[in-house]
Symmetry: none
Subunit: 412 residues, 2 copies
């Protein structure tokens, strides 16, 4: 049973801002037991919708876990949904009704007729005892397949999963997992370079792209090919060889964190001069604990007169080339380096949009400058996306430029 589908029942889970923590928790526990989660769904309190999801889940995976919708009230519809999906009748367990009544009365509550619904189960199901509450769960086991239904209350769900479901899954060794991060590349160019390694030694590879760069996720299951850890490590070594300096982290570390570690190692400092990113580069660097040892500070020179006053950018450069130009980006980098007495100075100027673009200088045009003792280098970016994405990608590109400069791997 190496593959599972998870379903959380409850109309409240479909409201904006609500996160279902039960399927998140179950995913982590199952992964740790070497079981992949193929999908997780949140579904309203509707027997038809529950049944439809359950049928498709059982087609896809031998293990299906459902949480929620098994209380006593009218909107608790999971029992009915399971019975429909499996073509089974619901039947009331008289002995269980007596147990429920006794549990209620022992606590001084009146037992209401609606409570007896919690003694209904699809024909052939086994009860899962609930050590923390009155509502039992139930499971249906057949040859190499298991469907378990647990309450939505997280503490009860977790206790019942640990005590009564996990032991039946015959878990093996855990998955091995690595997150690789790559800077300054497009998703497709990375994929082209490593695609032939996908699946080698039974290691799954997923590639992801976001505003913060490209990630490769490597995962191996315990199984025929030997221990998963060494298999992932072998693939990792080959990817490191191919990706070279573009690969900046093999443990999921952030780019700002890698930059900070490199600066700390070399005993160097950096300062930032930002225009279109408005402080985001400083914010990214100082998100790292201990940044004060290698980050000196920065300015957000949003107005042109402040670029002159605070960074000594020449008024002639602004007039002649415009604020968004290689000349001004480099002057900002040099100005902040000098004014902050840092080893590295980064300058950013660009057009983040939505307004302010022209044919010659469109939205998405960004100039980066990077000054150190030896030289000032410049990079031009032409980014796509909305204001937020252009700003994030700019910060990422500036961090990557700095990383390569520190490492001495910057192409001239």
């Amino acid at each position: 049973m190496r593959r599972a589908m998870l379903i959380a029942v409850g109309s409240e889970l479909l409201r904006f801002g609500r996160v279902d923590t039960n399927t998140q928790w179950l995913s982590a526990r199952l992964n740790a037991a070497g079981i992949e989660v193929a999908a997780r769904s949140m579904v309203e309190d509707d027997a038809g919708a529950i049944a439809a999801l359950l049928r498709s889940a059982r087609e896809q995976a031998p293990l299906v876990l459902v949480t929620g919708g098994i209380g006593p009230t009218d909107d608790d519809r999971t029992r009915e949904g399971v019975a429909r999906a499996l073509g089974l009748e619901l039947e009331r367990d008289r002995a269980r009704v007596s147990l429920l009544r006794a549990a209620f009365e022992a606590r001084g509550y009146r037992f209401r007729d609606v409570q007896a619904r919690q003694a209904d189960r699809p024909r052939g199901a086994e009860w899962i005892p609930n050590p923390l509450g009155t509502a039992p769960g139930f499971l249906l086991a057949e040859d190499r397949r298991l469907l378990a239904v647990l309450p939505g209350v997280p503490a009860e769900m977790r206790a019942m999963f640990e005590a009564s479901v996990l032991p039946r899954l015959a878990p093996g060794a855990p998955l091995a997992y690595r997150v690789l991060r790559i800077g300054g590349r497009t998703e497709s160019s990375v994929e082209e370079q490593v695609q032939d390694l996908y699946g080698r030694d039974g290691v799954d590879v997923t590639i992801l792209s976001g505003g913060d760069g490209i990630e490769l996720h490597l995962r191996a299951h315990p199984g025929a090919g030997g221990e998963p850890g060494p298999r992932v490590d072998r693939l990792l070594a080959e990817m490191e060889r191919r990706l070279g300096a573009d690969l900046y982290s093999v443990d999921g570390g952030s780019l700002a964190g890698v930059v900070g570690s490199r600066l700390a190692e070399h005993g160097r400092t950096v300062a930032t001069a930002e225009s279109c990113t408005g402080g985001m580069l400083g914010a990214a660097l100082t998100a790292e604990p201990g940044a004060s040892t290698w980050y000196r500070g920065g300015v957000v020179s949003y107005s042109d007169d402040l670029k002159q006053d605070w960074l000594d950018v020449e008024p002639e450069a602004l007039a002649r080339h415009g604020a968004v130009s290689p000349e001004v980006a480099c002057a900002m980098a040099e100005g902040i380096r000098r004014r902050s007495r840092s080893d590295y100075g980064v300058g950013i100027t660009g057009i983040a949009g939505p307004g302010g673009g022209t044919a010659e200088k469109p939205v998405g045009l960004v100039h980066l400058g990077l000054a150190d003792r030896e030289a000032t280098v410049h990079r031009e970016l032409r980014l796509i996306g909305d204001r937020g994405l252009i700003r994030r990608r700019t910060v990422n590109a500036a961090l990557d430029l700095l990383r390569r400069r520190i490492d001495g791997t910057l192409a001239p």
Copy 2:
């Protein structure tokens, strides 16, 4: 089309701690258009699993929206999953290949053969243009049913939904929906003040708390109680009366956006001097388009010597009171106001952790200063949370202080 099912594709969405924001956002937008979401699912990059979910979704609801898995790489499997679920062939659109190639080459990228996969669509599908990226989406419309497939990149997904999907949903009587935002308060104090209004006139109220403040979501369905809009508006009026100046937005607008609008209305400008937030306040303000009319700039004076050099903070104040003190916060606010020639100056200094705390000045202690022509005000914060949360809450508190000062509602 009053009922929808949402599917987010991406194996990374099944990892612990990952939240799919696309289906959350779509739920809110659909609700606002009077459409109920029956289920939302996250599914791995596997055509079989995608197809199984899609089939069950289409059984249950006339509207199905899918996000993600339509990029150029090998693990982008949504096209194949849709084709399988609907029993349609995938075909390559030659004209679209040429468009993709042109878009790549215009940006100076090489067009790789794998990119052409983005021109594949199930037979009979219409393209959905992508104004922010190269990957188009597609949709299949039949009599009273719609299946739309959008990219996973949130900004692209949102723009395409608004421009090309929403107008086809022929929305009827919408749900009435309002998002109220409240500053400078705890969740429980807000709840205590308005809890008796929950459910009045059939209006659902949900309260949410995050690093960016407290939100109240008001929802009313069309139905027995009369038009939903006026019912929500009546409840809103009562909440406005009770919450007073703490309520800063009744349309979900961000606090930075509200501050920017107020500054623009009054023709005033602001500048920022940040220490522990490292540029986050500047970044929040400049996230608003058009910020250059009211945001002059700022400094990140992370090192104490830069607080002296850039903001004229007296060395004696630093030595006597320490960098994290009311005196230094106020001197930073006054220094940045004077140096940037702004109407308002904000100063922030604090201990974000995890290190650097003492018994007298623990992690979470933050001082804010706010200077204008008339006076300099000070606020002390004692925040809980990790480094990220403390920094976010600090930015939020600084924005709220500025908002109340501009509005003249600041308690002395």
